[in-house]
Symmetry: C2
Subunit: 191 residues, 2 copies
DNA sequence: GTCTATAGCGGGATAGAC
DNA sequence: GTCTATCCCGCTATAGAC
């Protein structure tokens, strides 16, 4: 049975979409209120300040990433399936040609964000980097992956490439390059 | 003999720095005026609207990139030296741990930018992609580079990785990873 | 070309009724 | 929890003196 999400969750969902579309500094409580169909003053009941809203967004995003990667771990997938699961959300964002990664947009606005948002954003990147480094390390040890660099560096390269691909898709309003680019990443891992 | 740049150029220089530090939507005419030591109203004499200023910034950046790459072409460098020259500005931005690439920050704010800025930003990326694709194509044809993907895709991968690296450095406030990451990119080209 | 002064808008945020 | 009403602020932009 599906119950409509509570108001707080709906606010977070709308805010997250606006964050990915425009960035944190370029959407307002008014924008959220318009979409949700309530008055902007009411939003302050749920999130007293925009910094509180931003911190909640960043925290939810880090928590979701951690949970999603732990779910992947529980599925007994092959290394290549694990990597595909990791790539998937980035590929979807690139294919949209308009949405930013929540982590990426917070990184690009870093210096203007309230400190709690900055810290949660760092957590997000630490989570995905740790996970990917571990998968790369295990994959190479088991002989399923072949690459020269240190796993921690390879993880940085891959995450940078995925984040950058989302930007490139926006600059071009076209994501035809994304599938062959993913193949290129896999080739660099011996795939 | 060094003459101090004209006011218009000084405005562009200050605005560019603020753009790289905070993004286009997060700096104001007041910020520029404070740094330049004149009143914000005076800025409108040089750039009637902020959209005009943004368009001038984006155009100058595209022109500079084109000129810089043409200069590299005239130096009779080896392919690897050409690539190093290409990587250099991205590496410097990553090492700053706080400045964004002008192109990258415009890409991340794309949907909120005035159309002339969007178009100049696309030009910038087209310029660097065209140049890098050509160098990769020639380098492989001459046997100096070895890689499997299409040169146009390899160029996308490299540009995405460089743009993403700048983001990663900001998330970590540390760029120790950047040199080995560059080595990893070179390794993917047979270096 | 730079100044003062100000218009006009939209932002985040609060008070208090319901 | 949501409303109306309001406050204060900073923003872009303009008018007109110098």
């Amino acid at each position: 049975m599906i119950q409509s999400p509570d108001t707080r969750t709906q606010i977070l969902d709308i805010a997250e979409h606006l964050l990915q579309l425009r960035g944190f500094n370029a959407f307002s409580y008014q924008d959220i209120a318009n979409e949700l169909g309530i008055r902007k003053a009411s939003l302050h009941y749920h999130f007293p300040s925009k910094a509180d809203l931003g911190a909640a967004l960043a925290e939810r995003h880090a928590n979701r990433a951690l949970a999603a990667l732990q779910s992947v771990d529980e599925l007994n997938l092959t290394v290549w399936q694990q990597l595909d699961a990791f790539f998937k959300p980035f590929i979807e964002l690139a294919n949209s040609c308009e949405l930013m990664c929540v982590g990426g947009v917070m990184a690009s606005e870093y210096s203007t964000l309230p400190p709690p948002m900055q810290n949660r954003m760092k957590e997000f990147f630490a989570i995905i980097h740790t996970w990917l480094t571990r998968v790369l390390t295990q994959g190479r040890a088991s002989g399923q992956l072949y690459f020269g660099a240190e796993p921690t560096i390879k993880a940085d390269t891959i995450i940078a490439t995925l984040e950058g691909s989302i930007l490139i898709a926006k600059t071009r309003q076209n994501a035809d390059f994304i599938d062959p680019l993913i193949q290129d990443i896999k080739a660099s891992l011996g795939g």
